[in-house]
């Protein structure tokens, strides 16, 4: 009875009829190119020469010693060109879009990292680019708005709803229904209608493939746990994917609890949401008793989303991955901790994963290995974190 693109009961293609042929076209193109040698050669070339892959797997010696438990490795997605893991998926999808004959890409963005990556790749490919970003996020991430404009993209602030990531996604879907022929919606996370969750996962899976190979070279074994932050869940699924069949590897996603999962100011979907249908997929969503989507909150614009990708919902259902909640306060402390301890300023999103690693590592033994995915760098967050600490950098 379930349609295609399912992860257990989750996923599917809950979209207006107007977009159905575009989704089918995307699916056909993806099936055609995903194992095509020329396509993959071109993608690998771009990932290596343009984005700077493979990203480093760095042994965090001081952090390991300080926490006194598991050996901690940081997967340095923050070192990629444009400063986050988002570029992995963007390069894959933009090559796909080009092969589909599209000349224009549109995308949503929360923290601005996906918008910047999309604008970057569009500039490199000579494609037209328009980014939709909640007005609230445009203010929180003004630097990224400027970067996108500098890269030649048009940025549309979205005033609808809560003026954050979910509204940016809605608005990008609306834009896509009005102009499909020459336009690819370059969706930035493992969410939305099929085949997006699968496409984005496959392009992000390079993260876990590298972790596996790099750790094999350094330690000759698999990690005991992999920790990553989860909004829609693209960096997490990328970091988890090749370890899913390895039952000895604990997979832990860190959701944004905002001011706490017992408050309304939270974005922790698995911890506070329930099953629903929204943004093209069946999954868990923060919503009220009548199915109205909740106005979620997190200090992190990139995790400030009321849903989670369908594959994560499935991994939760079957107990293969754990999803824990991390508050603003814990994330900010982790942001500061990693900066001082290792000289690495993580994105506030990634700081949610660091915060959980700080809880988990001391509970693990010294011969165990914990990998933390540093999905992005934190330069973009400095002004907001300073503000959180009561300091206004621009005054």
């Amino acid at each position: 009875m379930n349609s295609k693109g399912r992860f257990g009961i989750h996923g599917g293609q809950y979209i207006p009829e107007t977009l159905m042929n575009a989704m089918l076209e995307l699916e056909t193109a993806y099936r055609k190119y995903k194992d095509d040698p020329d396509f993959n050669r071109e993608l690998t070339e771009l990932l290596n020469e343009y984005a700077g892959r493979p990203s480093r797997l760095y042994y965090a010696q001081r952090m390991t010693r300080d926490l006194g438990g598991a050996k901690i490795y940081l997967k340095r997605e923050d070192l990629n060109h444009t400063g986050a893991h988002k570029i992995n998926n963007v390069l894959g999808q933009i090559l796909l879009a080009k092969r589909m004959g599209k000349t224009r890409v549109i995308a949503e963005t929360g923290a601005g990292q996906h918008g910047v990556a999309t604008a970057t790749a569009a500039a490199m490919m000579g494609m037209e680019c328009e980014i939709f970003m909640g007005r609230e996020d445009c203010q929180r991430q003004a630097l990224n708005v400027y970067r996108m404009r500098l890269l030649g993209a048009k940025v549309h602030p979205v005033d609808a709803g809560t003026a954050t990531l979910k509204d940016a996604v809605s608005e990008t879907f609306r834009e896509w229904t009005s102009r499909i022929e020459d336009t690819h919606y370059l969706l930035g996370s493992v969410m939305g209608p099929a085949p997006f969750p699968e496409i984005v996962r496959d392009f992000q899976a390079v993260i876990s493939r590298e972790i596996r190979d790099q750790l094999q070279a350094k330690e000759g074994r698999l990690p005991d746990a992999v920790v990553a932050c989860v909004g829609g869940g693209s960096n997490a699924i990328g970091a988890f994917y090749h370890f899913i069949p390895e039952n000895g590897v604990r997979l832990i996603g860190c959701e944004a609890a905002g001011r706490g999962i017992d408050t309304l100011d939270t974005a922790a979907t698995i911890n506070t949401g329930r099953l629903g249908i929204f943004h093209g997929m069946k999954s868990y969503f923060c919503q009220d008793e009548y199915g109205q989507i909740a106005p979620v909150y997190s200090i992190s614009a990139g995790l400030d989303y009321p849903g989670i990708g369908p594959e994560h919902a499935y991994l939760h259902d079957i107990g293969r991955a754990e999803y824990v909640a991390v508050t603003d306060d814990e994330a900010v402390r982790a942001f500061e901790y990693l900066s001082r301890m290792e000289g690495i300023i993580p994105a506030i999103e990634s700081a949610h994963a660091v915060a959980h690693a700080m809880r988990l590592a001391p509970e693990m033994s010294k011969d165990q290995i914990l990998v933390v995915n540093i999905s992005g760098r934190g330069d973009k967050d400095c002004a907001a974190i300073a503000r959180y600490r009561g300091e206004d950098l621009y005054e």
């Binding site: 809950y14 879907f173 229904t177 009005s178 249908i277 943004h279 989507i293």
Partner: protein, 256 residues
């Protein structure tokens, strides 16, 4: 014959849309009565949703106004139950999948039958996903309305073959809202539907003036108007009823 089919018995059907609870459920009730009196053939009752992705700014704003007035699915059901004693006109709900799913699809759809709602339009449920709702719709004799769009092309005959009630023909790309002109060859879309199944076709999205309505009615069995009516509700608030009644009468006259 189903209640919905009767909507197409009085010449070309005029199908107005309104958002329940904008500006209040009491006004919604008066609007439905006035629309029936003005010659509407079927009414689409929008159940507001927080994130209506198929709607343009006008209906998005109506959804927000309704929800900020604390309208809920249960309050709308109660309003329609009482309204049903006063009007005969066929009624369909237009809402988003999560509103139905979250209520419990069977509970929602069986309640539709209990209170006299004849059909359901879910713009985020395409042909491939309809099974999940259509089973209950058939069980409780509530017609799940199929939509076709200018991009549907070869999908039209498959969708039409399984359609019930009427086929909702989306006139243009994009979201709901008034448009200066409609360039899609709607007649060709309707023809493809009729080739697959003898079922009424109603055209919606972008229609606001009597001239547009008359032109669309020439190639279809009915015309759906939403944003233009919702604009009147926004403009006149509680006092919108006579304005909407006159508008509906003028539109029905234009397509008759």
């Amino acid at each position: 014959m189903s209640e919905l089919a009767k909507a197409f018995d009085h010449g070309k059907a005029f199908i107005p849309f309104l958002t329940c609870g904008d500006p209040s459920l009491e006004t919604t009730e008066r609007l439905v009565i006035a629309m029936e009196r003005a010659g509407a053939d079927l009414i689409e009752l929008g159940i507001p949703f927080s994130d209506p992705t198929a709607e343009g700014p006008v209906i998005q704003a109506a959804n927000i106004r309704a929800l900020s007035g604390h309208v809920t699915t249960d309050k709308i059901f109660a309003m329609v139950r009482s309204l049903r004693q006063k009007v005969k006109i066929p009624l369909v709900f237009m809402t988003y999948a999560n509103v139905v799913f979250s209520y419990g699809s069977e509970r929602f759809i069986s309640t539709c039958r209990d209170i006299g709602v004849d059909g359901l339009i879910l713009p985020d449920i395409p042909f491939e996903e309809k099974q999940e709702f259509d089973g209950f719709c058939r069980q409780y004799e509530v017609e799940l309305i199929s939509m076709i769009a200018p991009t549907s092309k070869e999908r039209i005959s498959r969708i039409a073959a399984e359609a019930s009630g009427f086929v909702y023909c989306v006139s243009s790309l994009g979201v709901t809202g008034t448009r200066a002109s409609i360039t899609t060859d709607v007649a060709a879309m309707v023809e493809l539907v009729k080739k697959a199944k003898e079922i009424p076709c109603a055209v919606g999205f972008g229609i606001s003036t009597p001239e547009q309505a008359a032109r669309m009615a020439r190639c279809a069995d009915g015309v759906i108007v939403g944003s233009a009516i919702v604009k009147l509700c926004a403009q006149y608030g509680e006092g919108c009823v006579p304005h909407v009644e006159k508008y509906v009468a003028d539109m029905k006259k234009a397509i008759r």
